[in-house]
Symmetry: C2
Subunit: 128 residues, 2 copies
DNA sequence: GTCGATAGTGGACCTTGTCTAGTAGAATAC
DNA sequence: GTATTCTACTAGACAAGGTCCACTATCGAC
């Protein structure tokens, strides 16, 4: 049976770009293109899968209007102009809030996984 | 600072209703209303938060068209007619596929949480 | 006979993320 | 010297997962 098109393949899981971007920016200001590349290295994005740049830039823009990051154009250096993003105080606070939120989320997922493992064990056994 | 409206509150996290429904149905056939109540008890739904019935029924209908569950009307007993859902073989296979997928997902989230904790520690310290 | 619990349905909407496509500067290739 | 490629950013359409709101209908309690 093929499940590559099914949700159980994980293709529709959210990649948590928002908290990941905040974590990257906590290490210092960075421009979008590099943020995308750093996101691509996360296990959440699997092997060699790059997040869609369009979506990342959109999220950066949203986070700017929310006051979590600020941006400025960097026209020094070679290549096209780069928009540099930096964390604000609110962004730092948001990041630490995210830590607790994701920890609770993982706890919930682990409860669910436990249920599922239990269920598959029972289903696989001859009889209860 | 208030983050109740911010994504970092966790209000937009996906609740993984699909795998949870499969796990519930692995315990035997069940009708939608009770599935919703069992979902509400999961840690993923927090305290006293009930998933929206509308969404759950929609997912059940989708899963039926995908061949993961079957349904039949139960007009016995009192109250309105109930639609009984039961796992198919494909549904059982899908469930065990989900276990591996969610485990990998949790591993990715834990990597991210590690990054975030590291970042907040550094930000919180006087100097590196 | 009205209210509340049970049980299911439908539409609009938001958020997250992807796909596709396009603009533009700089380096390299030929 | 222009064609291609890498860098960097932007914009529109779309799909999936969920929530909100509103609705229908059965049954028991009061």
């Amino acid at each position: 049976m093929q499940f590559s098109e099914c949700a159980c393949s994980g293709k529709n899981l959210t990649r948590q770009v928002r908290p990941a971007v905040l974590a990257i920016l906590a290490g210092g200001e960075e421009h979008g293109y590099l943020i995308v590349q750093q996101l691509a290295e996360l296990r959440l994005f699997g092997d060699n899968e790059t997040p869609d740049p369009s979506g990342v830039y959109r999220i950066l823009k949203q986070m700017e209007t929310e006051g979590l990051v600020t941006s400025s154009w960097d026209t020094d250096g070679s290549g096209p102009a780069r928009r540099l993003f930096a964390l604000t105080e609110a962004g730092t606070a948001c990041l630490s809030h995210w830590v607790a939120t994701l920890q609770e989320y993982v706890a919930g997922l682990e409860e669910l996984i436990g249920m599922m493992r239990h269920a598959t064990r029972q289903a696989g056994e001859p009889n209860a």
